[in-house]
Symmetry: C2
Subunit: 561 residues, 2 copies
Amino acid sequence: MALGELPADLILKNGKIVDVFTESVFEADVAIVDGCIAGVGSYDKAKEILDVQGRYIAPGLINAHCHVESSMARPEAYVKEELRWGVTTLITDPHEIANVMGSEGIRYMLKAGGHMPINYYVEVPSCVPATPFENSGCIMHAAEMAELLKEEGVLGFGEMMNVPGVLMGDSEVMQKLRTYQEAGRVIDGHAPCVTGKQLQGYISAGINTDHEIISWAEAKEKLRSGMAALVREGSASHNLKAIIEGVVREQVAVSRMAFCTDDKHLADIKREGTIRHNIKMAVELGMKSEQAIAIGSFNAARIYGLKHLGAVAAGYQADLVVFNDLVEFVPWRVFHKGQDAWKLADEAEWLEPGARLKGSVNIGGELSEASFSLEHFSATKTYPVIEMVAEEIITEHGKIAGSEIFEALERNELCLIAVVERHHATGNVGLGLIRGYGIKNGAAATTVAHDSHNLIVVGTSPRDMLLAVQALEGSQGGYTLVEQGKVIDLLPLEICGLMSSAKGDELNEHLERISQKAYTMGVNPLVDPFISLSFMALPVIPRLRITDMGMFDVERFQFIK
Amino acid sequence: MALGELPADLILKNGKIVDVFTESVFEADVAIVDGCIAGVGSYDKAKEILDVQGRYIAPGLINAHCHVESSMARPEAYVKEELRWGVTTLITDPHEIANVMGSEGIRYMLKAGGHMPINYYVEVPSCVPATPFENSGCIMHAAEMAELLKEEGVLGFGEMMNVPGVLMGDSEVMQKLRTYQEAGRVIDGHAPCVTGKQLQGYISAGINTDHEIISWAEAKEKLRSGMAALVREGSASHNLKAIIEGVVREQVAVSRMAFCTDDKHLADIKREGTIRHNIKMAVELGMKSEQAIAIGSFNAARIYGLKHLGAVAAGYQADLVVFNDLVEFVPWRVFHKGQDAWKLADEAEWLEPGARLKGSVNIGGELSEASFSLEHFSATKTYPVIEMVAEEIITEHGKIAGSEIFEALERNELCLIAVVERHHATGNVGLGLIRGYGIKNGAAATTVAHDSHNLIVVGTSPRDMLLAVQALEGSQGGYTLVEQGKVIDLLPLEICGLMSSAKGDELNEHLERISQKAYTMGVNPLVDPFISLSFMALPVIPRLRITDMGMFDVERFQFIK
């Protein structure tokens, strides 16, 4: 068929081919057979001919690092939005669900995403739980991680967040890394601000990529040191501008760069896409369109060893996006294995998650109003206070005298905050204080609480806090708001307490609605009512956090007694 | 050791690192441990510190495609010259020896090269013999080629010269390609002038590279089609200028380009090196030094899937070349796995080839003067004549009346030429006529005769031709000159009739001497006495050739009766 002697399944006629090898454009047709590209040139014989009328035929885009669960949509819903904007390959790290449900959760993501018309790859989460200072739903050891190597769709090893463990040569960390290295797989890094000799040590352990780069200087050091730089543009992290400005200014080679989103909300993806948005931004910053597309496709494929993906050339899988132009990068058609990906996605059946996945919220012990009572605080002692910082996820480390807590709560200057262990019904509750959240006469709670995803609740009264916890136990996860003894809203996230079962737009609409309600209840307009809250439990980001085991001083790496 | 806490084996201090990832240079030390790079940065603790005094530390160079046998030196001697000029990785195709001795020859090359301080990789020859129109020493089938996949050092599949076989989907060709493709190995192409749909078809069969590119237009088409372009600069083929001028003019991405030599004589390598010469030429044509080095190292490593090679970064094998400058590119030191490669090469023991390898010349039948007699020509018929073309290896198709042969020989306008089967003592002799060689009153003969390496002899009298054949049978291969009934020179090439056993400079000196003698005997100064002769037997290059089976019309693809 490449010779043009037999009819192809489909010919895309009259295209401008985005050539990611030389980073240029040329005119040709694309002949497709059995899901592969048979030839690029002048072709006429086919069962079906689609005239693209001079539009640009680019390789399907690759999102090199993303967390599907962070969208709160199920894999199927997430994939549909990615396809809409031209992404045909996802490299995902199911770190969130693994903290709730371990391998069972990872396998669900692989299956649910894997039957959609997209290349759905998983980097097996390397750090579950992320720290020993919290109780997650699951502890994954090296043997279990090795077992997952056999699963179809498992590509490599997820972001290695345990930088000290790597640098100290911790034996279990080394064993995990060795397993994936010996299998020839790509190991993702997570090395914010790691530079100099520490970076050399981290890389020596066999770690290949980093997506936590925030400046051009950092990008250059990491590239020079042999890492692939995944340039991130997500909902919260905006790193593309700084890095691409450097690339354009210094005109360096980009073959070791890819684009990613890490965490991006579904509403943002709907509005602007993922990798398409990164490409558009890069071009607006002065990068050549073809080079930006190469970063968003072929370069990512090479970094991850995906030899059959990322180019419009004979022998490659026929994953294609047809753009109207190379300015706005709006997809006109998207193909997965030579078929209309949008149509296939609309027709795809959704995988119903099993009962265990929808029954992940298990609260035990004798939870009562007393669990959140002020009686836990002595008037003669001083207590730490999490001070939220506007528009940031870091926190400051405040203090309050025990004798002043009651009045500060009355004046709405302070809230109670608690993390309730919700996986194994241990009854663990960590109770503390937070300033800067702002809710009045009520409580907000969520089962999305990085990275162990216990239940986190913030409020002004033990009664409303208890009610919020009970409401989320009832719904098996989600976001909720309680006002003066009444549940006024509840967004169910019943898949592992992380993702909605919704199939349409109701998730986005509900998210918008419940956030607005939270603000009307007094939540500080400079914080996100639920997303900011979900990070208050992450004991790796300075300075003060709360887990189900208590208030944690991140800088001293210890609990505050 | 990357952390600088424990001493490294060796530190190269005060270097300028050639960063092949971004294609730039920065100042740093390189710490080496256990043959690997532990870290690049500021290092002080080591068993040994070598101050490179601001010189440039680049990755060891990679010759992406070469035929060691074409140098007529044994692998050890060839490797020493490559190391001298900074090449630390060879990707070789032992096509010549395979035509004489099959797998046994390939295994000898792997062993002899493999114990030298270089990464010695083999692409298994795909076409042995190259055509069905000659009798080679060995016929290699798909099963034997698959067996070789298990050998350490076997990287992929050698240049697929059977373009028609690929395009027609010949079942054995397809089986061979599939074996290497399914093993995830790189398959080298050989596609001179193959373009358009034929190129698409050729690539669709899974062929990854081409080193036969002669123009920028061809390079661009092949790169766009997904092939890696191996830019060749050898003794006979000078393709670099045309291609690199195009790259510099159009400023295209080069990550899918590598440098190679294909066939390069030892004397030329001694004088200017291989990949070092390609790099120097590219820089003289306007390419940035760092980019040229990236093509000659990291890019080649990526094309061939050699993840541990081609960069100065933590985790990479410590194969390094220290250049005095990035203008002349003269190596100051070369390291293989962190050790002085020149010293190791000088100390290495040479592998003695077995008796069978040194006994490859077996001439049978009743060879006599009559085998080359004019009586084979009838006065009443017309005969084809190979017309040599000055400084080219193509030939023209001449004619002569049988009645005129004797006088033309007498006037030294014509020579007799013969190919004697020399592997299996079949007694096959192909006899013909050649114009433009020029030897007077004597004969020249060689057992190097592409690609089947039978014995080719040219001369003015049957007596001298017979003597030349007998002399080479006696020496078990080589080059020889016979003048008026006397062997006046003989350069032995007793390893498979292709390579010299010499260890020092005697090979080059002898080559120079025997060529000069040939010219004094009347050989046309515009042809090479032995190299040009060796191509007269290659039945794939237009227009007229001679094999042990007779005179062959390459364009009609048939013997001339």
